[in-house]
């Protein structure tokens, strides 16, 4: 154990850096994915057949493909067109599209679940479409998708470990490098697992707290 602590001490800097990169990449993907997902959800719900169609295709393609394939495709495919995004950029783009597709699909369901009588009432008091969206539909829809959104966020944090496959030096790749140097396989994989667990527990506890805080009483 004494031996492991000194090894851990020598690896702590690198691991901390990887841990932060995991958090930064996930946070970037979750926030941009949530914003893009709102666009997806609105287009799917109110876009009509023409505007909704491309979004429908993107959402179905993303939901039918494994995240790892999406990440590998986002990293490799642009090189055929002469573009070469770095692994971090490609990875965050892939996670963002993944997040947006899931948020978009759940938001569509939540918007459709708002009783039509409320839209009628809004129209009766003369609300415009945007006012209806901001004051009637979104406040209810967002509350309804909150638990699902927390799950998606946890999936994104877990999915960020797949970025190690394209060479992003996040927590898992850093862990693998440390193991390559120290041969402490068991300990460092367990540590990486514990750190992912920590991030996700904070996310779900925070999410549950926010849900309680904004619940309609």
């Amino acid at each position: 154990m004494q031996g492991f602590l000194s090894i851990l001490d020598s690896a702590a800097g690198a691991l901390l850096w990887g841990f932060l990169l995991t958090i930064v990449a996930s946070a970037a993907a979750i926030t941009s994915g949530a914003l893009l997902g709102i666009v997806f959800g609105l287009a799917l719900t109110f876009g009509g057949p023409v505007l909704a169609f491309p979004f429908r295709v993107v959402v179905d393609v993303v939901r039918g493909t494994p995240l790892l394939v999406l990440i590998l495709a986002t990293y490799y495919m642009p090189s055929g067109l002469g573009l070469s995004p770095g692994p971090m950029t490609a990875g965050i783009i892939a996670l963002t599209i993944f997040c947006a597709s899931h948020v978009g699909e759940t938001l569509r369901g939540a918007l459709l679940a708002v009783p039509p009588a409320q839209t009628d009432a809004g129209r009766a008091i003369g609300l415009t479409f945007l006012q209806m969206l901001f004051y009637v539909l979104m406040p209810q829809a967002i509350r309804q998708i909150a638990p699902n959104f927390v799950n998606t966020a946890v999936e994104i944090v877990k999915g960020s470990s797949l970025l190690s496959a394209i060479g992003v030096g996040e927590l898992l790749l850093t862990t693998q490098e440390v193991i390559g140097r120290t041969f402490r396989t068991m300990e460092f994989y367990a540590l990486a697992g514990a750190l992912y667990l920590l991030i996700n527990l904070v996310l779900s506890t925070g999410g549950a707290w926010l849900e309680r805080h904004f619940r309609i009483r």
């Binding site: 039918g64 590998l72 490799y76 877990k158 496959a165 994989y189 697992g193 992912y196």
Partner: protein, 219 residues
């Protein structure tokens, strides 16, 4: 932008892609069946077990659902052999998939068992069935039927998760696609075909499952 599509390399490797797809489906199915067994046992424990059983189940579900499956797979493949637990990469991944699926299916079965109407259990008791009899002959068939949609959705997502086995060199679809990618550099073609295969398989599975659900509606 003068990239010319050439599917030659991808079609030469198409047999490998298909065998990879079959391996993925096989691992997904193995994970689903074993995971369902874990889920049924843990689901029963969560509903009918005492406090210690409930705590163990909660810890298992909470731990597995919050750790990336890739970390679990790497741990099982690289760390466990040091302690004499050693399987080949395909079996290791299938086992990890089962434990992973078990955590998700525990929640499904717990809900499916907990929502069985009280009246059915009372009726079973009144015709003289004991606890074990009720658990096997009454609760289990209803629970499996009620959990059917969730089992189906889990199978689709397990099948997609088998792509992660590529990282420990299991020769499934993503592994084969990556191999063609590295050998031929036909980057656009290979990922188009690979994701097309995944999407088509998932769509067919979803279609089949909807029919199965219509055939066996919830109780």
């Amino acid at each position: 932008m003068n990239y010319v599509l050439n599917f030659g390399a991808v079609f030469r490797g198409f047999d490998d892609l298909l065998s990879g797809l079959a391996l993925g489906l096989a691992m997904g199915l193995a994970g689903l069946v074993a995971g369902a067994l874990i889920g049924i046992v843990a689901g029963y424990a969560a509903v009918f077990g005492g406090r210690p059983a409930r705590v163990v189940v909660t810890l298992y579900v909470g731990f597995i659902r919050n750790v990336p499956i890739l970390v679990l797979a790497l741990f099982a493949f690289f760390a466990l052999p040091q302690y004499g637990i050693r399987f080949n990469n395909t079996n290791t991944f299938a086992a990890v998939l089962a434990i992973y699926a078990g955590a998700y299916l525990t929640e499904s079965f717990r809900a499916a068992i907990a929502t069985i109407p009280k009246g059915i259990l009372e009726a079973a008791r009144s015709i003289g069935l004991t606890g074990t009899g009720i658990a096997i002959w009454i609760v289990l068939p209803i629970a499996i039927r009620n959990a059917l949609p969730s089992l189906g959705n889990n199978f689709i997502s397990l099948f997609k998760d088998t792509s992660i086995a590529a990282v420990i060199a299991v020769p499934e679809l993503t592994f084969q696609a990556r191999k063609i990618n590295n050998e031929s550099f036909r980057v656009i073609e290979v990922w188009l075909v690979a994701s097309g295969l995944y999407i088509a398989t998932c769509a067919l599975l979803a279609l089949a499952l909807r029919r199965l659900e219509a055939r066996f509606p919830k109780f």
